[in-house]
Amino acid sequence: MATDTLAVQLSGIEKRFPGVIANHDVNLNVRAGTIHAIVGENGAGKSTLMKTLYGMHQPEAGTITVFGAPHVFKSPSDAIAAGIGMVHQHFMLADNLTVLENIVLGSEPAARGVVQYDEARRRLEAIMDQSGTHVDLDAPVSELGVGQRQRVEILKVLFRGAKVLILDEPTAVLVPQEVDELFSNLHRLVTDGATIIFISHKLDEVLTVSDDITVIRAGTTVAEVKPDAVTRSKLAELMVGSELPSPHGRTSEVGTTIRLSIDGLTLAGPGEKHVLDEVSFEIREGEVLGIAGVEGNGQFELCEAIIGLAKPMSGHITIDGTDVTHASPHERLIGGLSYIPFDRHREGLLLSAPLWENTLLGRDADEQFQKGPFIDAAAAKADSRSIIERFDVRTPSETVPAYALSGGNQQKLLVGRELSSHPRVLIAAHPTRGVDIGAQAAIWEKLRAARDAGLAVLLISADLEELIGLSDRILVMFDGRINARLTPAEATPELLGTYMTGGVQEVAS
């Protein structure tokens, strides 16, 4: 029942976080009664935008209009009151309650303080009949599969009277049959007058299911297209940007010594499927190997396995000629491995500790910081000041807590720490994610300098400019496997887009 009435209209939305502009000049027009897809790479700003629409944070600029009326959402409850519902990617259900209890939780129909379950059941059954989304209301949620849990989430949103449903990467957790079911449910919901905003980076799905597609790149909306007027490769190009840098000329040579060798690495997943499947590659002295791929295709597990936090089922990891498959993380770090982790707050920093303790983390066994049985705090502070200076960390002193720094400066500090332990192998996972352009350029320069000095780098990135600009070779990971091996020169956005979303290289090199 697509009409020309706009269910949701966002215009000129800008959202900033300390040191990062997550969204700017975002314009989105969602027609009532349509499935509207929002596509973009990880980190392009899709989730930030949806959080804005759902009232989870407030934009710095721009307006939100729902069915013609302007709104300011101070919290999700304001958004819910305006008829907007969100189905989160990570389900928010109480396992020990039944489906019915979960659905009414937070909006219980009550009379004199007593929850009217019968009334809730009647309303829900009506909703289920109308939407074609069925779940056993009395089953405990703990017994439901992923697909059913998602239906519970959708029902929860419908029960609260949502007319606009936001689905954040709804298919990420589903098997193909469940995806088909979901899509037919969505179509039925739309026929009944609902409007659906569907966030995804899986292009095939987007092209199948949606009526309109808005592409977000680098925090802003870059195009609105109709699925029948665009090809898959055109969409991929829109998503990753058509202007890629030419591979950076480099003056130094890749050495001959193999610094890191991964051979047939396989890692068991939570289910039957392996999260890493027979991954093999080698990185030489002074070489940067880039890994492209949509996040969640095994990159994180690969890093965990290399640093020793995840135990592989089979395969071998060799650092600088030594088999470290069974070595502890500490032994590997001592052996010349460094790691710039995916999430600096979670894995990299002690946010409440002063900067000098942060630069000491992981390097405290170093001879220069020992003073008898104690840590030489003066030496650690001097070392920290030197990192701050060399990596241009903008901070008043080395004694301020890490949380006081902007994201870009925290990242520069982290990169400085990891490079200061004189590693021979560096894993750099999204080394410039969420940092401003200045910090990005500074970090790239440091990585290039370290590479020229002989460092072997495994670079994992969602930023194709970074990948192509830094890497000597690029591997594409999909579904736990390496499904393409490219040189930066032959990597086009279209080609990368194809491989990143599951296409397989015809001739494996």
């Binding site: 993380p329 894995e347 000491l360 983390l361 066994a365 020992q370 004694t399 949380y403 006081a404 902007s406």
Partner: protein, 373 residues
Amino acid sequence: MSDESTVQRITNPKALKAPNAVLVTVASSLAAVLIALAIAGVLLAVTGYNPFEAYSKMLDAGLEKDKLLEALSRATPLMIAAVAVAIGFKMNLFNIGVEGQFLMGMFFAAIVGAYVDLPPVLHVTLLLVVAMTAGAAWAGIAAVLKVKKGVNEVIATIMLNAIALSVIDWLFQSKFRYEGESLDVKTKPLPESAWMPDMFDGRLTSFIFISLFVVLVFWLVVYKSKFGFRLRASGANAVAARTAGISSNRMIVTAMLMSGAVAGLAGLPYLLGESHAYGPSRPDGYGFNGIAVALLGRNHPAGIVVSAILWGFLDAVQGPLQIAKIPQSIVLVIKAIILLTVVIVNEVVGRRVAKRTADRTAAQLALPTAVAA
């Protein structure tokens, strides 16, 4: 922003101090105590007592030499218990089991001490080791359960407290009851070689020096050593610590064993300095008061010493209050309110300070020229 200004700013940290952490900590703990006294004062007034009279009585009595000595004497085991708790806190572990661990330490020291014959210093040293071993072993159960089975240490140590009591009672009643000449039911008394000497006519045990030494070692190990750094790093962010090669399981076990070993000592001031045997009139509550003292002292060595003395002071003035016909239970009320206010004040102040630090840092960086000049 030029490199030069960055360097300038780093080499000139004086002008750019974030809020002074020590000052803020002391001020907020003091504020918590004052707020608690005010609330307790209102309670006193409402129930028909003059709060000013009550507090001046407390102060008068408390400033007498006898009462000051009693305060120190009561603080002696509390410092140790608080250090035990603080070791756990620094690793983000909540050791509620100090109570059971100290009883274990005290009981086994009483048994072993009574049946060996050693020269004075060696005898005491042996008993310190025995008490630490017993406490560590008892805490170790919780550590193993946590590491191997993922059992929350709070639950495990609470359970172990109850079990410790039963085990000790059973051992005492069935195996180690000493039928001496006195009517007291106790274990076999310790020979004099195991006694810690008294000071001030028996008003204070010399064990207080061991307590202070424990606090000193705590400071050196947790705040100054490499191990302490790893412990604090694991406590601050376990994932980051693990990523940096620090095995969190090993840290959990070590921290728990250390905490238990220290806890094992808390019963010894009483055993070696006063009773010289274990009996049903044993002290209790050290574990829980230790948690309070560690919280009030913000897990800092100096804070712990001061807080333990304050706690000892409050205990010591209960008697004089009763004589003045003011219900002595007001002391318990004050302690409880202090605990609540300290937690609340810490939280509020912590957030404020974090925000101000962040704002100031940002502001300083926004004005590079002013700062560099």
